[in-house]
Assembly symmetry: C2
Homo-oligomer: 460 residues x 2
Amino acid sequence: MQNQHIEALKKIVGDEHVLTSVEDLHCYSYDATPGFSHMPNAVVKPATTEEVSKVLALANAEKIPVYTRGSGTNLSAGTVPTKGGIVLLMTRMNQLIEIDLENLVAVAEPGLVVADLNKAIETHGLIYPPDPGTVTTATLGGTVSENAGGLRGLKYGVSKHYVMGLEVVLANGQVMNVGGKNVKDVAGYDMTKLFTGSEGTLGVITKIIVKLVPAPEAKKSMMAIFKNLDNAGNSIAAIIAAKIIPATLEIMDNPTIRTVEDYAKVGLPVDAEAVLLIEVDGIPEVVEKEAAKVLEVLKTNKADEIKMAKDAAERDKIWAARRAALPALAKLRPTTYVEDATVPRNKVPDMIRAVNEIAKKYNVTIGTFGHAGDGNMHPTIVCDIRDEEEMSRVYKAMDEIFGTAIKLGGTLSGEHGIGLGKLKYMEDQFGPVAMEAMRNIKRALDPNLILNPGKLVGEC
Amino acid sequence: MQNQHIEALKKIVGDEHVLTSVEDLHCYSYDATPGFSHMPNAVVKPATTEEVSKVLALANAEKIPVYTRGSGTNLSAGTVPTKGGIVLLMTRMNQLIEIDLENLVAVAEPGLVVADLNKAIETHGLIYPPDPGTVTTATLGGTVSENAGGLRGLKYGVSKHYVMGLEVVLANGQVMNVGGKNVKDVAGYDMTKLFTGSEGTLGVITKIIVKLVPAPEAKKSMMAIFKNLDNAGNSIAAIIAAKIIPATLEIMDNPTIRTVEDYAKVGLPVDAEAVLLIEVDGIPEVVEKEAAKVLEVLKTNKADEIKMAKDAAERDKIWAARRAALPALAKLRPTTYVEDATVPRNKVPDMIRAVNEIAKKYNVTIGTFGHAGDGNMHPTIVCDIRDEEEMSRVYKAMDEIFGTAIKLGGTLSGEHGIGLGKLKYMEDQFGPVAMEAMRNIKRALDPNLILNPGKLVGEC
């Protein structure tokens, strides 16, 4: 990038919205993923779709890479500016444009923080379900671009299940609108879904129409402790087979249980092979009925201990244990990799067992917790990125974890995206034909390869 | 197409599976859409993915158009072989490959009839929700390619909400697998959604993984009669605002009511401006609660008469009235156009009123019924396609109907697709930028433009 480009960018968004100092650039050289960083040449903060359009037209003409970014909380190095160029910071475009109660949709700019959206609709008895752990800082645009999920994914799905329409600035600066407020809309290719989860590689999202859903009237939480992992696995399968879809159905494995107990002293038995944490929600009558049914399934499948939360305080205690999982594991060592290898839900015990064997094989510390009900595991590797020898073992363990997920019919990502972090495994999951088809789409929509180049589908 | 091509096709699928007689070709020259037909050169019936792959490799090399077809029930001329070439008839590939009860998914070939899928999973207490009117003849592949919906769309969505994975043969004959059995899967571009609803323009679907859901334990149906259309419209909005999502929330307007009553004598008041037909489903306790709430909403919004079905016989009577709508209208005149212009649900009364005005303006007969809850209207024009003067008025009326839907923030299709029937309105809805983006995708995946050429996104 040359000085004249910086000057041109300043003319578009205003001097104060183009950052070029080393300190500023450093702040945007990395995201929440360990091990990836690269300095951009400029951080540009547009305020309008028109400004985004002008920035892209310039970048496209001059072949300058552009990395769209929200709060940078993603876990797959999706926003790291690996080839220099422009970090396009969307946080100034943070307006909640409309809450449409008749159609149960909201219209917002991408920089809106997800928690702020939920705060604004709470008084109307509505929720926007995707709730990644970073919900208080993550932006709507970032979560939509990474297809973020969260604890409620089993019942409520991930971001793509809520995005109804988008305004997108294409690589050449042209603006298009796809989708809308229609509950049913099958006209044309599903461009809304194509751009959702495309990690900034196909266009810049400048407006988002999302579906809202009624907040559940009641919730009921419980915890089940298993000395035998298979009984936990059977319970998961049996709950689903009983046609109950809990809002949340989480698992923590033995390494996680021990670490959480050591960290938070919540009374977990350290010899348990697995703990399940379950919440059903909905209309009070249904919640009672489903909770009773889940209880029965857990007993039938030999849960060694079951705690049903009697009130909000007990409910909070159950979820405090689950919420302690990541901080407890992260406290063990300087570096934390939270992965999201996902398998069909009947393969959850196989996956957990394989991860524990991989941990032993490479002598690395891995705690596995996560969304058992939807097969979305979070094998979490704690290590020290400065220790080369250890890291060589860590990387081998990662390779085997993702290889195992794919072998079990799983996927590289349940909710974190691919970015750079998991790029090298993509062909193992998709094969060369699907990879080439995806690259063809990338080239068709971004012929100069300026948008988050080298990510998700790799070099084109 | 030359003789050598026919011979090559026979070598791939066997002599008896290549049809070339004029009688046979005539049968595949049209589909359920009035006004479109063209003779193909051959009808080819593959039995395996490998055969499909070989047929496409040949067609691609020789630049022969290929129109993938199931039962041909579509209403947007999506399968009419308008440029000659090969009709690829998928009805031999009709196996239900797997019912996976642990993961609540089914795997099937595209030629499987949707009703047969539902019959096979019924004993397990499961349903595959998309239920177009043609469910007993339509194939899974056809409904997935056209993104078919049905009466339960309000609560259960359309086909794309159930497709989890696909095997697709690309234009060049290469085979790819995308998606799978994972409840959460955000790896790569959402190719599964891109191909779902792509109307055979991007590839040939040879295997489909669909999500199944538990059948509702209970249902409750009711009918509400309104002398004033606005009260019906307000009721629709108020039901949704009360955070109830009925499985079905249908409307019939006055012309439809009069026609149905004349045809079926079900006791509808012919001076009513609108009838709403509503069904809530789910767990018995919830159904009772929601039905009571709907009743209250209907009363508050001045329904002139409400009939709540007390038993299955009364329920059947209510839905018989709705099911009579299309045959009753179709009986009036030789030609029937069932359109699916869709609007945000709060615009339903505006849309119905506009359609009635358009009918008067052009002196054509239009009955509007359809899925009020999700805004998916079916303005149904009955006419005589042999009457040129009348048809010129009919076409003008259609133009205005779709123009009005777009003006109201709606979409050209809620569940029937675009095909050729609505192609000319596409740019009005999407604008030139999105149209070009879609054409870029088409060209990227089908560079020789052999797959259902000229449809959905037009000439490329």
